[in-house]
Symmetry: C2
Subunit: 366 residues, 2 copies
């Protein structure tokens, strides 16, 4: 059994304890047992996760008074009001009370949905995030953001509701498709670039090994990324300022993801391309070429799928639409140096439109 | 123009400013104008409230960038997931952003629903409660509890989301039916009995006058009740302890309300009967007869409608069902002396069942 690392995230309503490591389930059994003891436990998960990792629940929940597993569809499809409503009804029917607790067991969608359902059930019950994907372990499961999609807009309905615990078991990652590892590592590069130079160096040294998805190699990366995110979230729990640095690569990335035919570009891959484009804007604002080159080389190492063909007007319109969710116009997060980013609200649409054609033609400067 | 009183409720996420008085709308125009200035304002209200008091919005919202009025059905019917979902969609469609703001303009149901919709839209936007009923002014609009009904259970889905401001305009009360005034005064008696001996004396001295619904007379009562509630909520924002004192009269009251045919007993009237019954349990636990007699006399002064006929098994079953929402069994809130209440978890169902037949036959001890 390898080492288990523990982080604490202090937030306005208390503290989240985050356990990260290979075979961390064994190491946390005591803490989880105390948390579930004598209570009615509700688990939200998907058929795929339950078939791959469902047995993990047996020992974790043996102390519960009752265990109720609620199955939801895979992916974003589950994040809707209808599914949330049927979960609340089901939880009530199966005897859910104020002191019942919930486990969100799956990827980012299950975490977003499960956190939302826990946060609103009887005005909030405690819950635990048990993320099974790399993306959820390094990002989505941390920070208390919960949401469903409503009115055609992603994450338009939700609340901040921090989990009591996050258990990131690295061995779950061994069953992930390589494409999901790659897309999640793009988000790790995002955090490293703006927040953690040491993590950036680790990624530069070991990217090919990490891309293979080996849990032993990934665990320290999950830990470092989680630590970087915890620091930012603690300083800005309500996402009023610094936390928005985590949107590096997301301004164009969201548009690239949304406009790709049939969802052919994964979120993480779209963010990777979004970062590449942001580097061009950053170069216009004085970013050293060596720094931009270093980040581009790392992103190149991911082996991204080729960019689909895009209509520039569609991308521009999507970015404008995204702006609706922002308090003040469209904000671009750009790197200023290694480990340092800044929000810019002075990027004119014309500058973006001028740079886009060459970028879409050939996203690499080299 | 009469005096405007201002209370502050400090809560974990900030401070709510509560304005109470006759013609308070004029007095708060400056504060509200600063709050709406340049923003897209969403108003949730009902046809009845808009036709009676809608013009109040004109001067309050003149500084807004845009005003969008969203109409919902009267009463509890509006507090459902379908209505909440269509409001979120509508707000998105009409350009709602993170810095948009919302006004819940109506009675308790509009406040519960509006607070929930504001609390979950883009993970929470600021909102204002403008309660138009006496019950909402003395109770529902204060304290940040928001909810809708789901899975057949009242208030089963919601969150704590405190309004930025509460504006309780006493002149709105002049249009209320006398039955609503009476039922709301029952809740005021509830607060006075356990929390505020001075308010209790005021009620004893002026009940007939208050029952007439005159805004000038009611404003100081709204203020005193709000002040009592603010004190309790500040000490126990999450309803973990003391705040549950506000459930005096509600244990049997909820059951009486739910079992009454066609909703023939209003919530407040049911709570009044619930308090009468609780007095019997309290007498068994040593409450002075003089204190019980004093409260009973005050409740008698309300002129309650007669109790419907009940099946005792149904009432017992409903109280057991209510228990499901409690952390630990069924809790009765009982008075110990004037201005002092306590939670009892040792009231056996047998004691309740033994006392019920005589009580339902003749709820008054005298």
């Amino acid at each position: 059994m390898s080492e288990t690392d523990r982080l604490s995230l202090r937030h306005p309503d208390g503290t989240t304890t985050i356990y990260i490591g290979n075979h961390v389930l064994e190491a946390t059994r005591g803490a989880v047992t105390r948390w579930v003891e004598g209570r009615r436990m509700f688990v939200i998960s998907t058929p795929r996760v339950l078939s791959l990792h469902g047995e993990a629940l047996d020992s974790l929940l043996s102390a519960a008074q009752a265990r109720e597993v609620l199955v939801v569809p895979e992916g974003e499809e589950a994040k809707c009001l209808e599914v949330a409503g049927s979960l609340w009804t089901e939880i009530l029917t199966r005897g859910g009370k104020r002191d019942s607790r919930l486990i969100a067991f799956g990827g980012g969608s299950v975490g977003d949905l499960g956190g939302f359902v826990a946060g609103c059930f009887l005005r909030g019950i405690e819950y635990l995030q048990m993320p099974t994907t790399l993306l959820a372990q390094v990002d989505a499961a941390l920070g208390g953001k919960t949401a469903i999609d409503c009115g055609g807009a992603k994450n338009s309905v939700g609340l901040f509701h921090h989990p009591a615990m996050v258990i990131s078991e690295a061995s779950f990652l061994s069953t992930l498709p390589k494409e999901e590892i790659r897309a999640a590592l793009a988000e790790v590069i995002k955090m490293a670039a703006l927040l953690d130079p040491l993590l950036l160096e680790r990624l530069e040294g070991r990217l090919p090994e990490l891309l293979k998805g080996d849990p032993e190699s990934l665990a320290p990366v999950v830990l470092a990324a989680a630590r970087a995110k915890v620091r930012v979230v603690q300083r800005d729990p309500g996402e009023a300022g610094e936390r928005r640095l985590l949107n590096f690569g997301h301004t164009l990335g969201h548009a690239l993801e949304a406009a790709a035919v049939d969802g052919s570009l994964r979120h993480g891959d779209a963010v990777a391309y979004g970062m590449l484009f942001a580097l061009r804007l950053a170069l216009n604002r004085g970013l050293e070429e060596a720094v931009a080159g270093r980040l581009e080389e790392l992103i190149q190492g991911l082996g991204l799928p080729p960019l689909p063909t895009y209509d520039i007007d569609v991308l521009m319109a999507l970015m404008q639409k995204d702006k609706k969710n922002q308090e003040t116009g469209l904000v671009w997060v750009l790197p200023e140096s290694v480990g340092q980013g800044k929000m810019f609200d002075d990027v004119e649409p014309d500058e973006v439109r001028d740079l886009l054609p060459a970028f879409l033609e050939h996203p690499w400067t080299a």
